[in-house]
Amino acid sequence: MAELKEELKGKIIEVLNLEDVAVEDIQDDDALFGDGLGLDSIDALELIVLMDKEYGIKLSDPKQGKSIFQSVQTMADYIAANRTK
């Protein structure tokens, strides 16, 4: 799980072009939206694409996103339980 979370942090930084953010700057429970990393709605769409492309997870219910994308920890938990690749 620790490895997955580190990998996820790296992919989030890369995909979302978080220029001045390093893997070690992101805590597992930091909020991804709002006061945390300050991601926006387009970033949310990029995260949905990332889940599909990298882990074979298709999110069909938008309501799921709010809980899955709370933090790196919640994303990693969901990926670990649902990944197909």
Binding site: L16, N17, L18, E19, D20, I42, L45, E46, V49
Partner: protein
């Protein structure tokens, strides 16, 4: 329609260089990729604005031009009127490439949102909190006469107090921006001849 308007300030962005008026204010390495030039020119400004890194090349160039020319300028009532030749074609191509392989389609939403050239006006407006008139036109060459009339119309009809006009062309590493501020007070008359002169330098 006749108004007395003036070109008060200019900025040129091309060949890894940014010039405000006649003064080079930032110079990168010749032939360096635009992405590196834009990133360094932005960092040189020491502005905390992470959204810059998410923009496409056209928006980055327009944003940088606006950032340099609007330093110390009054932004209230500032309208934006820009033009270019390629529209958003550079980003259109990148988006198209991401959907080319029908067995591996993962288009990026962050790329897709920039497949409209007028998005760069939105980026400038958000940055400077402008809620004013803006327009983006696609022409083969800079339409000096048309832009002069359009900017003067905005001023004479009191739709704007000043206008940021210009050309922001980017396609596959070939780029050039020429922006200028038009105001009701100044020294250099806002004439077609003087506009064309900006593109000769």
């Amino acid at each position: 329609m006749h108004t007395t308007s003036f070109i008060t300030k200019t900025v040129h962005v091309h060949d890894a260089s940014i010039k405000v008026g006649d003064q080079v204010v930032y110079e990168g390495e010749k032939d360096e990729p635009f992405a590196i030039f834009a990133k360094q020119a932005f960092k040189y400004l020491e502005v905390d604005y992470p959204k810059f890194y998410k923009m496409d090349a056209l928006s980055k160039m327009a944003f940088l031009g606006a950032e340099y020319i609007l330093q110390s300028e009054e932004k209230e009532g500032l309208a934006l009127v820009l033009a270019n030749r390629s529209g958003s074609l550079d980003t259109d191509v990148r988006h198209q490439q991401s959907i080319q392989d029908t067995t591996n389609i993962f288009p990026s939403p962050a790329t897709f949102v920039y497949t409209l050239s007028n998005i760069c006006l939105g980026e400038i407006s958000i940055r400077h909190q402008l809620q004013t008139e803006n327009a983006f036109f696609v022409f083969e060459e800079y339409p000096a006469d048309f832009m002069q009339k359009y900017a003067d119309y905005l001023l004479v009809s009191a739709k704007a107090k000043r206008v940021l006009c210009g050309w922001v062309e980017y396609f596959q590493e070939k780029y050039r921006a020429v922006l200028y501020l038009v105001d009701q007070n100044g020294q250099k008359p806002h004439t077609t001849e003087n506009i064309n002169e900006l593109f000769e330098s």
